[in-house]
Symmetry: C2
Subunit: 113 residues, 2 copies
DNA sequence: ACCCAGTACCTTGCACTACAAGGTACTATA
DNA sequence: TATAGTACCTTGTAGTGCAAGGTACTGGGT
Protein backbone atom coordinates (compact mmCIF):
# COMPACT_ATOMS: atom_id res chain seq x y z
CA UNK A 1 0.00 0.00 0.00
CA UNK A 2 1.61 3.22 -1.15
CA UNK A 3 1.23 6.30 1.00
CA UNK A 4 1.24 9.84 -0.30
CA UNK A 5 4.60 11.36 0.43
CA UNK A 6 4.38 15.11 0.68
CA UNK A 7 8.12 15.68 0.79
CA UNK A 8 8.53 13.71 -2.37
CA UNK A 9 5.76 15.68 -4.05
CA UNK A 10 7.50 18.91 -3.11
CA UNK A 11 10.80 17.57 -4.37
CA UNK A 12 9.14 16.75 -7.68
CA UNK A 13 7.95 20.31 -7.85
CA UNK A 14 11.51 21.59 -7.67
CA UNK A 15 12.61 19.24 -10.42
CA UNK A 16 13.09 20.78 -13.82
CA UNK A 17 13.24 24.22 -12.27
CA UNK A 18 16.73 23.39 -11.16
CA UNK A 19 18.28 23.81 -14.59
CA UNK A 20 16.81 27.28 -14.80
CA UNK A 21 18.07 28.19 -11.33
CA UNK A 22 21.58 27.02 -12.09
CA UNK A 23 21.75 28.97 -15.33
CA UNK A 24 20.43 32.02 -13.49
CA UNK A 25 23.13 31.67 -10.85
CA UNK A 26 25.93 31.23 -13.35
CA UNK A 27 24.70 34.21 -15.37
CA UNK A 28 25.80 36.46 -12.52
CA UNK A 29 29.46 35.63 -13.17
CA UNK A 30 32.03 32.88 -13.06
CA UNK A 31 31.36 30.41 -10.27
CA UNK A 32 32.21 26.83 -9.30
CA UNK A 33 29.94 23.98 -8.31
CA UNK A 34 30.27 24.09 -4.53
CA UNK A 35 29.53 27.80 -4.48
CA UNK A 36 26.49 27.32 -6.70
CA UNK A 37 25.19 24.89 -4.09
CA UNK A 38 25.70 27.45 -1.33
CA UNK A 39 23.99 30.20 -3.31
CA UNK A 40 20.96 28.03 -4.01
CA UNK A 41 20.71 26.95 -0.39
CA UNK A 42 20.62 30.61 0.63
CA UNK A 43 17.51 30.96 -1.48
CA UNK A 44 15.92 27.87 0.10
CA UNK A 45 16.52 25.64 -2.88
CA UNK A 46 17.65 22.19 -1.83
CA UNK A 47 20.23 20.65 -4.13
CA UNK A 48 22.95 18.10 -3.53
CA UNK A 49 26.29 17.29 -5.14
CA UNK A 50 25.11 14.16 -6.91
CA UNK A 51 22.56 16.28 -8.71
CA UNK A 52 24.61 19.27 -9.73
CA UNK A 53 27.73 17.66 -11.15
CA UNK A 54 26.01 15.55 -13.80
CA UNK A 55 23.80 18.52 -14.65
CA UNK A 56 26.75 20.87 -15.14
CA UNK A 57 28.44 18.25 -17.33
CA UNK A 58 25.33 17.92 -19.45
CA UNK A 59 24.96 21.66 -19.89
CA UNK A 60 28.62 21.86 -20.87
CA UNK A 61 28.24 19.04 -23.41
CA UNK A 62 25.14 20.77 -24.79
CA UNK A 63 27.15 23.96 -25.34
CA UNK A 64 25.38 26.15 -22.79
CA UNK A 65 28.33 26.39 -20.43
CA UNK A 66 32.10 26.56 -20.63
CA UNK A 67 34.66 26.41 -17.81
CA UNK A 68 38.29 27.00 -16.88
CA UNK A 69 40.34 25.36 -14.15
CA UNK A 70 41.64 27.48 -11.33
CA UNK A 71 44.03 26.47 -8.55
CA UNK A 72 42.90 26.91 -4.97
CA UNK A 73 44.94 27.31 -1.79
CA UNK A 74 42.22 25.58 0.20
CA UNK A 75 41.97 22.28 -1.61
CA UNK A 76 41.79 20.77 -5.06
CA UNK A 77 41.46 22.95 -8.19
CA UNK A 78 38.05 24.34 -9.08
CA UNK A 79 36.06 24.44 -12.30
CA UNK A 80 34.79 27.96 -12.86
CA UNK A 81 31.76 27.95 -15.13
CA UNK A 82 30.26 30.70 -17.23
CA UNK A 83 27.49 30.95 -19.82
CA UNK A 84 28.17 30.74 -23.55
CA UNK A 85 26.15 32.81 -25.99
CA UNK A 86 23.92 29.82 -26.56
CA UNK A 87 23.58 29.52 -22.79
CA UNK A 88 22.40 33.11 -22.53
CA UNK A 89 19.86 32.48 -25.27
CA UNK A 90 18.55 29.36 -23.59
CA UNK A 91 18.33 31.15 -20.29
CA UNK A 92 16.14 33.79 -21.88
CA UNK A 93 13.84 31.11 -23.27
CA UNK A 94 13.63 29.35 -19.93
CA UNK A 95 12.84 32.63 -18.26
CA UNK A 96 9.89 33.08 -20.61
CA UNK A 97 8.83 29.48 -19.96
CA UNK A 98 8.93 30.10 -16.23
CA UNK A 99 6.89 33.28 -16.54
CA UNK A 100 4.31 31.46 -18.62
CA UNK A 101 4.08 28.69 -16.05
CA UNK A 102 3.81 31.19 -13.23
CA UNK A 103 0.98 32.90 -15.08
CA UNK A 104 -0.85 29.62 -15.60
CA UNK A 105 -0.69 28.70 -11.94
CA UNK A 106 -1.81 32.16 -10.87
CA UNK A 107 -4.76 31.90 -13.24
CA UNK A 108 -5.70 28.48 -11.83
CA UNK A 109 -5.36 29.66 -8.25
CA UNK A 110 -7.51 32.69 -8.97
CA UNK A 111 -10.33 30.56 -10.35
CA UNK A 112 -10.19 28.38 -7.28
CA UNK A 113 -10.29 30.94 -4.51
CA UNK B 1 26.31 13.96 -29.53
CA UNK B 2 23.44 15.26 -27.51
CA UNK B 3 21.91 18.60 -28.38
CA UNK B 4 20.19 20.86 -25.92
CA UNK B 5 16.46 20.49 -26.42
CA UNK B 6 14.62 23.56 -25.26
CA UNK B 7 11.17 22.03 -25.54
CA UNK B 8 12.27 19.17 -23.38
CA UNK B 9 13.71 21.56 -20.82
CA UNK B 10 10.41 23.41 -20.69
CA UNK B 11 8.52 20.15 -20.34
CA UNK B 12 10.75 19.23 -17.42
CA UNK B 13 9.85 22.53 -15.85
CA UNK B 14 6.18 21.60 -15.87
CA UNK B 15 6.86 18.26 -14.22
CA UNK B 16 5.88 17.93 -10.61
CA UNK B 17 3.77 21.05 -10.90
CA UNK B 18 1.16 18.96 -12.64
CA UNK B 19 0.02 17.20 -9.50
CA UNK B 20 -0.56 20.57 -7.88
CA UNK B 21 -2.48 21.86 -10.90
CA UNK B 22 -4.73 18.82 -11.00
CA UNK B 23 -5.55 19.04 -7.31
CA UNK B 24 -6.26 22.74 -7.76
CA UNK B 25 -8.64 22.00 -10.62
CA UNK B 26 -10.48 19.26 -8.77
CA UNK B 27 -10.80 21.45 -5.69
CA UNK B 28 -13.24 23.61 -7.62
CA UNK B 29 -15.78 20.81 -7.70
CA UNK B 30 -16.49 17.36 -9.09
CA UNK B 31 -14.93 16.84 -12.49
CA UNK B 32 -13.85 14.00 -14.76
CA UNK B 33 -10.53 13.41 -16.50
CA UNK B 34 -11.29 14.69 -19.99
CA UNK B 35 -12.66 17.93 -18.60
CA UNK B 36 -9.60 18.38 -16.40
CA UNK B 37 -7.51 18.16 -19.57
CA UNK B 38 -9.61 20.85 -21.23
CA UNK B 39 -9.40 23.16 -18.22
CA UNK B 40 -5.63 22.85 -18.02
CA UNK B 41 -5.26 23.49 -21.76
CA UNK B 42 -7.25 26.69 -21.35
CA UNK B 43 -4.57 27.85 -18.95
CA UNK B 44 -1.79 26.92 -21.35
CA UNK B 45 -0.75 23.81 -19.47
CA UNK B 46 0.04 20.96 -21.81
CA UNK B 47 -1.05 17.57 -20.55
CA UNK B 48 -2.05 14.39 -22.32
CA UNK B 49 -4.25 11.41 -21.49
CA UNK B 50 -1.41 9.00 -20.86
CA UNK B 51 -0.19 11.33 -18.15
CA UNK B 52 -3.38 12.14 -16.34
CA UNK B 53 -4.99 8.73 -15.94
CA UNK B 54 -2.14 7.08 -14.06
CA UNK B 55 -1.75 10.22 -11.97
CA UNK B 56 -5.42 10.25 -10.96
CA UNK B 57 -5.22 6.56 -10.08
CA UNK B 58 -2.21 7.18 -7.90
CA UNK B 59 -3.82 10.09 -6.08
CA UNK B 60 -6.89 7.93 -5.49
CA UNK B 61 -4.78 5.06 -4.13
CA UNK B 62 -2.97 7.53 -1.89
CA UNK B 63 -6.27 8.70 -0.44
CA UNK B 64 -6.24 12.25 -1.82
CA UNK B 65 -9.10 11.71 -4.21
CA UNK B 66 -12.34 9.74 -4.39
CA UNK B 67 -14.72 9.29 -7.32
CA UNK B 68 -18.15 8.14 -8.36
CA UNK B 69 -19.30 6.77 -11.68
CA UNK B 70 -21.86 8.70 -13.64
CA UNK B 71 -23.63 7.68 -16.82
CA UNK B 72 -23.35 9.92 -19.85
CA UNK B 73 -25.64 10.30 -22.83
CA UNK B 74 -22.68 11.17 -25.03
CA UNK B 75 -20.52 8.11 -24.55
CA UNK B 76 -19.16 5.79 -21.90
CA UNK B 77 -19.67 6.50 -18.18
CA UNK B 78 -17.43 9.04 -16.50
CA UNK B 79 -15.45 9.03 -13.28
CA UNK B 80 -16.21 12.19 -11.35
CA UNK B 81 -13.40 12.98 -8.94
CA UNK B 82 -13.38 15.13 -5.83
CA UNK B 83 -10.90 15.86 -3.03
CA UNK B 84 -10.95 13.98 0.26
CA UNK B 85 -10.09 15.77 3.49
CA UNK B 86 -6.55 14.46 3.16
CA UNK B 87 -6.54 15.77 -0.39
CA UNK B 88 -7.49 19.25 0.80
CA UNK B 89 -4.71 19.12 3.37
CA UNK B 90 -2.13 18.05 0.83
CA UNK B 91 -3.29 20.74 -1.56
CA UNK B 92 -2.67 23.35 1.12
CA UNK B 93 0.82 22.02 1.67
CA UNK B 94 1.57 21.98 -2.03
CA UNK B 95 0.29 25.53 -2.30
CA UNK B 96 2.79 26.59 0.36
CA UNK B 97 5.53 24.66 -1.43
CA UNK B 98 4.70 26.43 -4.67
CA UNK B 99 4.73 29.84 -3.01
CA UNK B 100 8.10 29.07 -1.45
CA UNK B 101 9.48 28.01 -4.81
CA UNK B 102 8.07 31.09 -6.49
CA UNK B 103 9.72 33.23 -3.84
CA UNK B 104 13.09 31.52 -4.34
CA UNK B 105 13.02 32.07 -8.08
CA UNK B 106 12.01 35.69 -7.70
CA UNK B 107 14.89 36.22 -5.28
CA UNK B 108 17.33 34.61 -7.72
CA UNK B 109 16.03 36.64 -10.62
CA UNK B 110 16.30 39.83 -8.64
CA UNK B 111 19.95 39.21 -7.81
CA UNK B 112 20.66 38.58 -11.46
CA UNK B 113 19.08 41.60 -13.08
C1' DA C 1 56.21 10.88 8.75
C1' DC C 2 51.57 9.93 9.50
C1' DC C 3 46.65 10.58 9.93
C1' DC C 4 42.50 13.22 9.70
C1' DA C 5 39.23 16.88 8.50
C1' DG C 6 37.88 19.88 4.99
C1' DT C 7 37.27 20.88 0.20
C1' DA C 8 36.13 19.72 -4.55
C1' DC C 9 35.61 16.86 -8.13
C1' DC C 10 33.00 12.69 -10.14
C1' DT C 11 30.25 7.99 -10.96
C1' DT C 12 26.83 4.26 -10.31
C1' DG C 13 22.35 2.43 -9.45
C1' DC C 14 17.71 3.44 -8.12
C1' DA C 15 13.08 5.64 -7.88
C1' DC C 16 10.00 8.54 -9.86
C1' DT C 17 7.54 11.07 -13.51
C1' DA C 18 5.64 12.33 -18.21
C1' DC C 19 4.91 10.88 -22.58
C1' DA C 20 4.07 8.20 -26.92
C1' DA C 21 1.57 4.68 -28.63
C1' DG C 22 -1.65 1.55 -28.39
C1' DG C 23 -6.03 -0.80 -26.66
C1' DT C 24 -11.14 -1.36 -24.91
C1' DA C 25 -15.85 0.00 -24.81
C1' DC C 26 -19.90 2.97 -24.83
C1' DT C 27 -23.15 6.31 -27.68
C1' DA C 28 -25.16 8.42 -31.64
C1' DT C 29 -25.49 9.09 -36.64
C1' DA C 30 -25.46 7.77 -41.36
C1' DT D 1 -23.27 -2.30 -39.63
C1' DA D 2 -19.94 0.85 -40.15
C1' DT D 3 -17.94 5.22 -38.55
C1' DA D 4 -16.90 9.18 -35.55
C1' DG D 5 -16.75 10.88 -31.08
C1' DT D 6 -16.13 10.22 -26.24
C1' DA D 7 -13.93 8.22 -22.19
C1' DC D 8 -11.54 5.04 -19.86
C1' DC D 9 -6.89 2.51 -19.26
C1' DT D 10 -2.03 0.05 -19.93
C1' DT D 11 2.74 -0.74 -21.49
C1' DG D 12 7.30 0.59 -22.58
C1' DT D 13 10.69 4.28 -22.78
C1' DA D 14 13.34 8.45 -21.80
C1' DG D 15 14.72 11.78 -18.77
C1' DT D 16 15.65 13.63 -14.12
C1' DG D 17 17.23 13.98 -9.09
C1' DC D 18 19.04 11.61 -5.33
C1' DA D 19 21.59 8.47 -2.13
C1' DA D 20 25.70 6.45 -1.62
C1' DG D 21 30.07 5.83 -2.61
C1' DG D 22 34.82 6.98 -4.60
C1' DT D 23 39.20 9.90 -5.87
C1' DA D 24 42.43 13.50 -4.85
C1' DC D 25 44.27 17.88 -3.19
C1' DT D 26 45.43 21.02 1.11
C1' DG D 27 46.66 22.10 5.82
C1' DG D 28 46.91 21.18 10.86
C1' DG D 29 47.83 18.11 14.78
C1' DT D 30 50.62 14.50 16.95
Amino acid sequence: MTKFNLENAEAQMRKGILEYCILLTISRGEIYASDILKELKEDNLIVVEGTIYPLLSRLKTDGLLEYRWQESTEGPPRKYYKLTEEGKNSLNHLKKAWESLDKSIKSLTKKTS
